[in-house]
């Protein structure tokens, strides 16, 4: 049902490797295991004898790629097609076809002149690595039992009785049901833009529309009259009522001001800040009403169930390779836009002039940057428990667990406390409509550290889909102090521009050309599609928020 990453399946061995395995089994792998040497970065090489550098048997050369024959332990080099001594070796000695690339500790077939893969070999390499690395397995959790922390998101539909409530379409309208403008109450486009995105996040929509946060009960039991989730729920009802005239979310604004007194003004605010504070308020209120059991450490409030993921941070000591790993929950990812204008980064292709003020970045590039190992500056030396002193380290972020709805926030507003200035980065950002987050998962990132290995890491084969689909984009235009937020929504395969009270149909190109500030992606699951029809809304008495919505008939 959910796609598995195809790189984790075993490639078919060439006939020479198959022959070798038949005749020699694992003897060769085990005997060279002792000569594997692991760098603190996680790469393995064959070093054997440190005092003598390995030289080719035919030409005594030490340059180019050196291959170690698994049968006779002789070394041959391969510098160019004319000087391929590895091939020569396989031709002079019968059956000596499989060798190991000494620099990379990878299998090579001298006859096919190509890399070959054998899970048994990779296991020999990995078990050496795990034994050797300083305690803590270098951040690798190997073949742990599947943790039972999986949140049960999909209800068991066999047990629950589902009542289907057919909602009338009401007056004839050209826009799909649920699309309604929001009046600007005085520089509140920051609120309107985020609200539009949240109103159309299917899990949130289903939760509030099915009255999971019961407003009557809440009013009775709540001591203070203020309840942000109630007001938020009221907006859902209003937006999905079928009425198409623009709505004024005054009550929500008032409630939000009450909670965030410092932001209660008619000045322009940051949409991202509003988003985070909304999630916080919803979480607080739900915690008050239903204190969650902290057994599995996961919060069960709707805000976290939908948006919360787990971020993993690995800090590796450069000297000894000891890695310390921490996991922290997060409700969104804030991504940097890439190298700033003043840096000395050079674009590899010299014919392309490095563009400064009109840089074009891609969202995928930002995600790559986010998960790239970062060398911490020498002023940030961290204490390494293994070396027992402060050492230079590398830090790398990865995603341990993906949320249901992924909010990607682009850091376009730069505040420099040193220079006491703030500025906005106007670069256009290319973002995909379909995003596969697999390369940014912890399992992929950790796997990549050890090179091309076929080896089971924890978290592999997880049944959470890594494919995401874009359903809302909050864009910002204008300057830092005076700008305007607009949201683009995708409903039933059509994009709509939500500019406060004005809703218009737009093309895909318009959306792609906009200046993305916050992108909302939802996991592609069989139940949720941005294109689904909303005529049927099941209500389950069990109160589980995630129900399969009936397909359009």
């Amino acid at each position: 049902m959910f796609g598995r990453n195809p790189t984790y399946t075993n490639p078919k061995p060439c006939k020479h490797l198959a022959n070798y395995k038949l005749n020699h089994g694992l003897n060769g792998y085990n005997s060279i295991q002792k000569s594997f040497k692991i760098t603190p970065h996680g790469r393995t090489a064959m070093n054997g004898d440190q005092s003598k550098i390995p030289r080719c048997n035919f030409c005594s050369g030490y340059q180019g790629r050196l291959y170690f024959c698994l049968i006779c332990s002789s070394v041959s080099c391969c510098c160019s097609p004319d000087s391929n001594h590895a091939l020569l070796h396989s031709q002079t000695e019968n059956g000596h076809e499989i060798a190991v690339d000494m620099e990379r500790a990878e299998l090579f077939c001298c006859v096919c002149c190509d890399q070959v893969y054998d899970p048994d070999f990779d296991e020999a390499v990995m078990s050496k690595q795990i034994m050797e690395m300083p305690r803590n397995n270098n951040g690798v959790d190997v073949r742990k039992e599947k943790s039972n922390k999986r949140r049960k998101l999909i209800s068991d539909s066999n047990n629950s009785k589902e009542l289907f409530l057919r909602m009338g379409r009401g007056s004839k309208s050209c826009f799909p049901w649920g699309l309604r403008g929001l009046n600007n109450l005085g520089n509140t486009c920051f609120m309107n833009s985020v609200l539009q995105a949240l109103l159309h996040a299917p899990p949130l929509r289903n939760y509030f529309l099915s009255n999971q946060h019961n407003r009557e009960i809440c009013r009775k039991i709540s001591s203070d009259r203020l309840c942000l989730p109630c007001d938020f729920g009221a907006i859902f009802s209003a937006i999905f009522s079928g009425n198409q005239t623009p709505y004024s979310p005054a009550r929500l604004l008032y409630s939000w001001w009450q909670h965030s007194a410092n932001l209660a003004s008619y000045e322009q605010q940051d949409a991202h800040e509003f988003f985070i504070s909304m999630l916080d308020r919803i979480h607080e209120k739900e915690e008050q009403a239903r204190p969650s059991n902290k057994d599995d450490g996961d919060c069960h409030c709707i805000a976290h169930k939908v948006f919360s993921g787990l971020l993993r941070s690995d800090v590796t000591c450069i000297t000894c390779g000891f890695t310390s790993t921490t996991c922290d929950p997060c409700v969104d990812l804030s991504l940097d836009l890439g190298p700033s204008n003043g840096s000395s980064t050079v674009v590899a292709d010299k014919s392309r002039k490095p563009s400064k003020n009109t840089g074009v970045s891609t969202l995928v590039g930002c995600l790559d940057l986010f998960t790239r190992p970062e060398r911490l500056g020498s002023d940030q030396k961290l204490y390494c428990p293994h070396c027992r002193e402060r050492r230079d380290s590398l830090k790398q972020m990865s995603i341990r667990r993906l949320p249901l709805v992924l909010c990607l926030h682009i850091k376009r507003f730069e505040h420099s406390p040193i220079r006491k200035m703030s500025r906005k980065i106007d670069w256009h950002l290319q973002f995909p409509f379909s995003l596969d987050m697999a390369p940014y998962l912890s399992s992929s990132i950790v796997r990549n550290r050890f090179g091309n290995r076929i080896f089971a890491f924890e978290g592999d084969g997880s049944d959470m889909s890594t494919e995401f689909e874009l359903f809302a984009v909050v864009t910002h235009s204008g300057k830092l102090e005076s700008g305007h937020y607009v949201t683009y929504l995708r409903l039933r395969n059509q994009w709509y521009k939500c500019d406060d009270a004005w809703i218009t149909e737009v093309s895909e190109q318009t959306v792609r050309a906009s200046q993305g500030y916050m992108m909302y992606y939802i996991q592609k699951m069989p139940f949720y599609k941005a294109s689904e029809e909303l005529n049927h809304l099941p209500i389950s008495p069990r109160g589980d928020p995630f129900l399969s919505t009936a397909e359009c008939c």
């Binding site: 550098i53 030490y62 190509d114 890399q115 000395s344 980064t345 674009v347 590899a348 292709d349």
Partner: protein, 113 residues
């Protein structure tokens, strides 16, 4: 008349002596670099710089393009290395080259002392 080739063969040269006599300056430096561990450090530094400046991503893209053109099952590691190596060497940024040369120079100075 066929002469037995073994009679007129010169005496077998002493292999080790030959190797030492043939060691060029370049080889000596290389050996010193490896033995002191400096070569590993330089390689790590080079790796970092080439990733930062986008060179590695560029090479990855070129490999993909080549593989797509030839067909996935018609490409070997040797093919890729032959095709990509000249492009790779040519596109290393000057700043990276300069930095590494500087490091090697200072190593030589310290090794000569």
């Amino acid at each position: 008349m066929r002469r037995a080739s073994s009679i007129n063969r010169p005496p077998t040269p002493d292999a080790e002596v030959d190797q030492e006599q043939e060691l060029s300056l370049q080889e000596i430096i290389n050996i010193k670099l490896i033995e002191s561990g400096e070569k590993e450090r330089l390689k790590e530094l080079l790796r970092e710089r080439l990733i930062e400046c986008g060179w590695r991503d560029e090479m990855k893209a070129q490999c993909r393009a080549f593989t797509r053109k030839r067909g996935r099952n018609n490409v070997t590691v040797d093919d890729l290395v032959d095709v990509i190596t000249p492009k790779g060497r040519a596109s290393v940024p000057d700043s990276v080259k300069a930095e590494l040369l500087q490091r090697i120079r200072s190593f030589l100075v310290s090794a000569a002392l």
